[in-house]
Subunit: 405 residues, 2 copies
């Protein structure tokens, strides 16, 4: 049916996330899926988390009531403490807001900063969910090409200069996943981090440092966060329990200057009043019982094994020289470059053979919504290594190789 | 500190909810609070709900994973069935979306329909949280004065005519709380319901029927929903577990035509991906175990007693003729009219004497954001009867009477 009422301009422009359509195509019996960025449900701390429901009995009068928009105080305190090493100091409660998934961080900060037509700088490639959120707010995108060390500094400088020149003002936001990027698995190189901050500072662009994967490093040394390097100035840092505990909890958080957090809270009041206190309280209890650090140690080993399995399986299955990739040191993803292949067609052939991945173009803004040069995602493929079982990883890579043209 | 970055236009205009400031003033030892619209935590089904965490153990692999944006399927099915009597038929799953509180229904539907400057028709008085959400989207308000039977039909007709005449197009939305309105406690009279729908239809205005209190009728007969009367056309109906189970669960839902629900889902993908599955699954399990109907029967009796206590306490404490009100037949609120009193000053005196309520102006849009005539909220006061204990209700009404000028 046609919709008989006048839509808002943003709703008129909103379009389904292309990824959801791709996922729909992969739901078939026998499908081996490297498509979704899903944690392994086999390693969810189900018993430990379910036991945390004890907090509902113990503190039910408080936990079942409306909560503060800023977050459930015991969780806020636990997060402030837990964040200290990563952020250089424990943030104050006024510098943190608990959100309903880190998707909400992008939405709230986007709403604080972005008017329709405004430019947001993103990495190419980047997380399609962030593109979807910002697109719904009417953002246009300026893209910074990346290599295995993250954003190319000269290209970032160019993009910022061009925006200033062409738009007459700086972009509204720089969105970056500095650790084990979705989709590329890359980390922003240590020596590029201060330079990115310096460029952002010089051009007056606030940074959203989205870091859901940072704790999932299974090799190499942790790199300092942008937030830490900047002493917290001009950076909003987003963390999440989705990858380190479980996505169904939908608890994430943003840390930033008190003034920007206050503005995000003000909007969040009108968005969902507060993140479910039930979920927050169980997550806080999970932390209080010391489960989080133990579980992290366990999943780092678990995911390291799966990453090694995928690396070996890809090397064994793909013809030499046919694909290029860098083994990730953490996170969830392999990012394959298949020169001369359009991975959208490859996706269809692969799904027919019983293996799914996500084709590269999903991770780049469309040329129509891009300010300046767009980047062609056609030769890339994202493979998630965390969800499938090791034997499925081997078989899936064989099927993928067989689907190559 | 001043914020060094350029804000979006909506964030520039956003301002703290005045209610939050009032609440902050009421947090003192010994305060009897009729201010917050809070359920009685003493009657939360704590044990029954906490036991529902068993579903996390039983279905943890699914419940701790990412969920569908539309909602957790067993909850969607339970809600579709439960809604059937109210809505005239069981909605299909495509006609329902689970949200993170019904606040999110206002936000999502607002984002689907409202551009900055657009007009939304609201009752005067109405729920300040809806005003806050819609204000953050840049809405202006046209207000329809109400009596104890809800919206005055001639005034609604006038408002719609005026909008068409002055704006050259219909308002984007009519927001109404038809049962036990927050704040007035009034129900839209049965004979006005078809007329409201007919006016909305004739002017091409979609209706948001927000119904968090409808199940809390403790006297009189249930009235047919606008959704039912309209056969679902042009009406989005919003339900919530906040008042009938517990607000900390943050599970609510919207029912409407598949096309508008699809558009809300599309935006929700970018807002929080999905409502916490943990919370949804526990709510579904709570329904599956048959707790909801039993609990509803219990709280109806419980709240009827508190409403009767407040009615008697007000009659006993207030000088005859000093205040006018209608005893509510359900819901959470008494709405007092104190002619010649500015309830903002009364609020301050009352808080000094240890009793809090919400002054009327919080429930009306400001004149600056109102299209056409504004309504003066100064002589009104909202008293929530559900939160305080019966002896506190008696003492609180005495303190309120003593604070009168």
């Amino acid at each position: 049916m046609t919709f008989p009422y006048a839509l808002s301009r943003s709703a008129e422009k909103a379009r389904p996330s292309p990824i959801r359509e791709l996922y729909a195509m992969t739901r078939r019996p026998g499908m081996i899926s490297f498509a979704g960025g899903l944690p392994d449900p086999g390693i969810f701390p189900i018993a430990e988390f379910a036991e945390c429901a004890e907090v509902l009995t113990r503190l039910g009068r408080e936990v079942l009531q409306y909560g503060a928009t800023e977050g459930y105080p015991p969780l806020v305190e636990a997060l402030c403490r837990w964040m200290a090493p990563r952020l250089g100091r424990a943030p104050t409660p006024a510098e943190l807001v608990v959100t309903t998934g880190s998707q909400q961080v992008v939405d709230l900060l986007g709403r604080v900063l972005v008017d329709p037509g405004d430019v947001v700088v993103v990495e190419a490639p980047t997380y399609p969910g962030a593109l979807h959120t910002l697109r719904n707010l009417g953002a246009r995108f300026a893209v910074v090409p990346c290599d295995e060390g993250g954003m190319l500094l000269d290209r970032l400088a160019e993009v910022l200069e061009r925006c200033r020149h062409e738009q007459g003002r700086p972009p509204k936001l720089l969105y970056t996943i500095v650790n084990f990027s979705n989709p590329s698995g890359a980390c922003l190189a240590a020596d590029r981090r201060p330079a990115v901050l310096e460029l952002a500072r010089r051009h007056g662009v606030p940074v959203l440092e989205d870091d859901p994967y940072g704790e999932l490093r299974f090799r190499g040394e942790a790199l300092p966060s942008l937030y830490r390097l900047a002493g917290g100035e001009g950076v909003v840092w987003a963390g999440s329990f989705s990858k380190v505990l479980a996505p169904g909890v939908r608890v994430a958080w943003a840390v930033g200057e008190a003034e920007i957090i206050r503005r995000m809270v003000l909007l969040k009041q009108g968005v969902d009043l507060c993140t479910p206190v039930v979920s927050q309280a169980m997550a806080a209890e999970y932390c209080r019982r010391g489960h989080l650090e133990r579980h992290l140690a366990k999943i780092r080993v678990h995911y390291a094994g799966k990453a090694a399995a995928m690396s070996a399986a890809l090397a064994a299955a793909l013809p030499p020289g046919r694909a290029a990739w860098h083994d990730p040191e953490g996170g969830f993803f392999f990012w394959l470059r298949l020169d001369g292949t359009d991975t959208r067609s490859l996706f269809e052939r692969a799904v027919e053979r019983g293996v799914a991945f996500l084709p590269g173009p999903a991770f780049f803004p469309d040329p129509a919504e891009t300010v300046g040069a767009a980047v062609d995602g056609a030769p890339f493929a994202r493979l998630c290594f965390t969800f499938a079982e090791p034997d499925e990883i081997v078989e899936g890579c064989r099927r993928l190789a067989a689907a190559l043209p």
